[in-house]
Symmetry: C2
Subunit: 341 residues, 2 copies
């Protein structure tokens, strides 16, 4: 038998059942201050008997009340990464007594715009967005004063609290380490150049060359790979060159896994006497047991979610009323022999 959609009891139902006014019920529900203990008792009994649950939508309609909702727009790359990100944000959001309304943009600017409009219509108190890059619907005028935190990526011209990973610094450090270890021809496998993190990681790559006085060979830079298959093909094309790179920097783990697959599918003779060293921005499971020298630039996606949510909650609770801030989360290096030559 399908569950009957019977009418939910309201505050009036409870009031009548308990023989008091709606106000008394309301008072009991919000703590029971200034109510005779006997009535508190009676109201609680009625609430239990009727299975009453306060309608939060009606409650939040009153001025000064908050919806208790945070809108979160993520990009849904084919990457387990964002699951962790959501969980971290949820920790903080639910800890503040609020709920997380979530939607995916699939890197589509129109979807992002519609999703944010929908969130605002639903009276979210704040927004956490992994932005596609479009600017207009993130401007204060479009948001109608709803606080915004950007995560993973910044958007030029949008002044908002932002949590980033130390993309440039970490990439710079690891590429510099490769150069210091003697590598002179270093490949780059990256995502679409329009992606903020991709640009930043390439910037670190480029700066490391510049500061070492090493000329960067643009022929070894392959971008636009968004999945493992295309990354594998890109790596194979690098390996097939007359003078292949001795190390490859992978700007995300999709590219790193593609690179690993290409290396494992290429005979040792073909890929040279020495193994090609890899650096992967983003961790991936089993990286340490592949027998391929790889250095991982790791960061905690869950912590990214926590930080973004914390910044937002601080704004909502008035704990932070200063200028928009940008926080860069540090990375951690896991070395499985990647910088050797």
């Amino acid at each position: 038998m399908a569950a009957p959609t019977r009418r939910q009891p309201t505050i009036l139902t409870v009031a009548e059942h308990a023989g008091v006014s709606r106000m008394t019920v309301s008072r009991v529900l919000s703590g029971g201050k200034n109510v005779r203990p006997e009535l508190v008792e009676r109201v609680h009994a009625s609430v239990a008997a009727l299975g009453y649950r306060r309608n939060e939508q009606a409650r939040s309609l009153r001025p000064g009340q908050r919806s208790g909702l945070i809108g979160m727009a993520i990009t849904n790359v084919a990457n387990p990464y964002y699951g962790e990100f959501v969980l971290g944000a949820d920790e903080v959001v639910s800890g503040s007594g609020r709920g997380l309304l979530i939607g995916s943009t699939s890197e589509d600017e129109d979807k992002e715009r519609l999703l944010i409009a929908d969130f605002i219509g639903r009276q979210v108190e704040g927004l956490i967005v992994v932005p596609t890059g479009a600017r207009r619907h993130l401007l204060p005028a479009a948001l109608g004063g709803v606080p915004l935190v950007l995560a993973s990526r910044a958007v030029a011209g949008v002044r908002a609290d932002t949590v980033l990973v130390a993309d440039v610094q970490a990439s710079y450090d690891q590429v510099s380490a490769l150069i210091a270890a003697g590598h002179r021809r270093i490949g780059f496998l990256g995502t679409m150049t329009s992606v903020f993190t991709g640009q930043r990681r390439y910037e670190g790559f480029r700066l490391a060359h510049e500061d070492a006085g090493l000329e960067l060979d643009e022929d070894l830079v392959l971008v636009g790979q968004q999945d493992v298959e295309s990354a594998k093909a890109a790596m194979e094309s690098l390996l097939a060159r007359e003078d292949p790179p001795t190390a490859v920097f992978c700007a995300n783990n999709r590219n790193a896994i593609g690179a690993v697959r290409a290396l494992l599918g290429t005979s040792r003779r073909k890929r040279g006497a020495r193994p090609t060293a890899l650096v992967s921005f983003d961790n991936f499971e089993l990286a340490d047991v592949l027998g391929i020298p790889v250095t991982i630039i790791d960061h905690d996606a869950r912590d990214l979610g926590r930080q973004a949510a914390s910044m937002l909650i601080a704004r909502l609770d008035g704990a932070d009323e200063g200028l928009p801030q940008t926080v860069e989360l540090p990375t951690r290096t896991l070395d499985y022999g990647g910088t050797q030559i």
Copy 2:
């Protein structure tokens, strides 16, 4: 400068700006039927000028209106799995014009109860739950008629639409294949025995032995491993036996990855002349390149999310008013030499 939290325009603000009544604005907002074209024009102009956005909370307060919210409670195992699950559900839910309210229970029954109470207070139209196993707060009386879909796991005594993976059948098939290939001592690495999927996968394991007339050695059954570290330790203890198993069935990918790590960390001499064959329930990346014979029982977590959401939406839209249904999603086998001996 922090974004000013100015008062949002209401339908009345728009009405005054356009020089019409609130009703006319309301009509225009809901399609513009029976309104003079000129007024439709004027209202749209005012909406744009004021940046007005309809308050969905107020709208849904009216009887007969729906909140447009679906509550989703997941368990947040340390597994990328659930990110995919959420994304699949979101596809369907947002496709129906609704939004996904999400929370994590961390396998905690109390958190689940509170989360569901919160969802109901927020007037969700329906619930998708990966249940911890507690029964009471999932009964129709507790839900007040809000439709429920269980995902991944069933709960004894709770009659609700349920989407499962074909745990028993797939496990049975793969263990039977191991036995047919000549394996006589097969290990089992599993999660907590309280977990529904763990029980089901063990049941398939047991039935395969029974039907083959092969006695199951309880000593080779190790359960309770919830992460890679403990799984690795469990596998090591299996390998250290005098008469180690020739194959091991892993009830989820955490256990499989632990097993892989144990095998790769054990010298070939110690682990015998032939490699230990593995079966993993759940896929994991790079399984095919490890040089370890492994058979994967794969299923699409995103599809699980889609199915759960579809069943719920069908109930909400009245497309399905029959008895609660249970759907078992099929699995796919990826064979990287796991059944060989």
